[in-house]
Amino acid sequence: MSDINTKEPIDKANNGSPKPTSPNADRKLDFASFWEYSPAPENSDHVEIDERYNHFINGEFVEPVKGRYMKSINPANEEVLCEFAEGTSEDVDRAVKAARKAYEKTWSKISGKERGKYIFRLARIIQERARELAITETIDGGKPIRESRDVDVPLAAAHFFYYAGWADKLNYAFPGRKPKSIGVCGQIIPWNFPILMLAWKIAPALATGNTVVLKPAESTPVTALKFAEICRDAGLPAGVVNIVTGAGTTGSEIVNHPDVNKIAFTGSTIVGKIIQKSVAGTGKKITLELGGKGPNIVFEDAPLDQAVEGIVNAIFFNQGHVCCAGSRLLVQEGIADRLIQKLKDRMETLIVGDPLDKNTDIGAINSKAQYDRILEYLDIGVNEGAEMYQSSCSIPDNGYFCRPTIFTNVSQSNRIVQEEIFGPVLTIQTFRTPEEAIEKANNTPYGLASGVWTDKGSKIFKVGQAVRSGVIWSNTYNKFDPTSPFGGYKESGIGREGGLHGLYPYIKF
């Protein structure tokens, strides 16, 4: 560079060696070799997880009538985390009776203002115990601590705060219509966002004066049981919130219990259909929040680098275990190569591994069953002739980990394009005109969420109105807020959760 360095430069810096040459032949970017982040695990020493958890019925923890227990596995190391009660019809019946009694005696009688005070209290205790809840969520479900800390738990608290605010204002939410509570609500939630889905279900139910029997998923029951402790500590009247743990059969006991007035379910479309059949003709109200195969549409005038980030957030958030995930990328032909190149570069920087590490981007697949299912879909994709690309990241030897994956050269008729994979797997299709993008976006039984990426405002509205989705994000993806309704068209569900709309399923006039 200059003639000053007559002597050999003193290599005190100890960096950049070997000195990179410019240019290198294949113009590849190397994201690994020189500066590796040291492990930065979140300290979990202070978090107590019991060896055995019981049902929470009528304000106290009670052993299951039949005495049977199931095991919850930490998917990041495949070790047993704890045991929890397996709910039978007897347990469900006890819980429903407790909920009914609480409904008749106290919860439907006290004023909205009083109910609001309790719900605000729940929200505040969730905030106080935020760190513990986040760590528990991560250990039990495998999601990265970055997400449970920054998304799941704060949003769960926000939902309680939001609906606490409605509790004494229902007459203003429905002016002139005298809203009334409906009774006992049976609620069944999935394993992908345990505490957050609990908040989506319980907060509006309590605010409107109903009592609940809630069943968390069998692979992620722990935060729901910690929430039971919170209900107890908040002095919530006994029986207002009951938590019964167990698997699918326990859920069906709740659905089929004659004294339940409303069913709220979040989970797979297959189970949703079964539930809808079961409650047909019973007079039970129902909300279903089911699967999706979200199209994420990127036009050539989109801000590309930000779109890449949006694609990553759409499909790799929570290992792709998101019902509204943007799992189908639709990209305008002219920019497809550049966009895919950028996406591949970005994927190289995703860190897959220990969910408790603060730098982890993608944690563990929630369960062995889901892991096998994703691997099966990878096989299906390859056999269908699609081109598979995975990032070169290292993954731990134990636990259920899947590299972020994209499939190119796919068609609308492929199973990997049609069916919900529920993992970090993205299919990429191209389109030429907005009409073609809309047609491909809508050509699916689902209709939960979509993304539209363009610099042009009018295009956002034109395409956004033509795509049949409950949620459309524009120039962003996977953004949630308690004030915003969420729910699906077609086989993605019935009813809305969140916002003012989220009150409707829990009231009658």
């Binding site: 960096n15 240019p23 290198n24 994201f31 680098d305 949006g310 603060k358």
Partner: protein
């Protein structure tokens, strides 16, 4: 480089500011601990362009600056020296002499720094003078007024002309992003500078607020990455002004690492234009090595 790869600078590359800020905030969540922290602190130290650009600069001040640059902290002689000192053209010879037989480069601002409000001939003479005095690197400013008028060929030609008189000296092109205001302008100015032959692109003079910010730096790094993908030519990056804390420096390094990769994590390709950053890095290095914070009084203020 063939003409066909040069972009049409009248076309604007869309940049979404909200998205850029979100990306930066996600990168800021990277937790840099233990060995990776110490490595990064030392790396950041070695990337500093130790700078004094004041009207009251004197030979004595520049000589002090140079000795700090050579040996930032005497109790730890194994620490890297900084990458360069950055001075006005009339101080180049002094700095050059003070840094003889070291690896520390001498960078000189030129082209009617900081405003750039002068005729091309004067800017060329300014540059020639700095080079003839021995500057290894030239930090030029672009004509922001012409840029905001949309006179992009003017900017391109001016940079190309300065590059020509730089000869062997490396050319850093200061965009003065605080005056360009939008990220789309930052992107466009970055592209023009790189296609016109810049060896480095640099955010700011340090005389305008805001100076370097992480969103601006990210957009420039992405421009460098796209340019590299297209042409195979590596271009360096220098955020300058306003970076005072070691923690911020580490955040910038994370931006580089996850946008351009390891090849750019070297003083050959990334620099910090700063003066007070040096001491904060030293304090943090001492803390990492000894376990305790040392008083600021133990670090020289040059």
């Amino acid at each position: 480089m063939s003409v066909s790869v040069i972009q049409d600078f009248n076309q604007t590359i869309p940049i979404d500011q909200v998205g850029v800020e979100e990306r930066v905030s996600r990168l800021n969540k990277r937790s840099i601990k233990k060995e990776s922290k110490l490595q990064a602190l030392k790396l950041a130290l070695s990337m500093i362009d130790h700078t004094t650009l004041e009207g009251k600069d004197s030979k004595g001040k520049v000589i002090q600056l140079c000795s700090k640059a050579k040996m930032p902290y005497a109790p730890m002689p194994d620490l890297p020296s900084v990458a360069a000192v950055c001075v006005y053209p009339n101080m180049v010879a002094t700095a050059k002499k003070a840094l003889r037989d070291t690896a520390v480069k001498v960078a000189s601002v030129a082209t009617a720094f900081p405003s750039g409000m002068a005729q091309l001939g004067i800017k060329l003479d300014d540059t020639r003078y700095a080079v003839s005095e021995g500057a290894d690197e030239i930090d030029m400013v672009i004509s922001r007024g012409e840029f905001l008028k949309g006179n992009y060929t003017f900017i391109f030609d001016e940079i190309a002309a300065i590059k020509e008189v730089c000869g062997e000296a490396h050319l850093k092109v200061i965009l003065e992003t605080g005056e360009l205001e939008t990220l789309e302008n930052v992107r466009k100015a970055s592209d023009i500078a790189m296609y016109a032959g810049a060896d480095f692109i640099k955010t700011s003079t340090g005389k305008i607020s805001p100076a370097a910010t992480q969103p601006v730096t990210l957009v420039m790094l992405e421009a460098i990455r796209d340019f590299y993908r297209k042409t195979g030519t590596m271009v360096g990056m220098k955020p300058a002004g306003g970076i005072r804390k070691a923690k911020e420096a580490l955040q910038y390094l994370v931006l580089v690492r996850e946008t351009l990769g390891s090849a750019w994590l070297s003083p050959d390709w990334f620099r910090f234009g700063a003066s007070s950053l040096t001491n904060d890095l030293l304090m943090q290095i001492v803390k990492q090595e000894t376990g305790v914070y040392q008083s600021i009084n133990y670090f020289s203020n040059d």
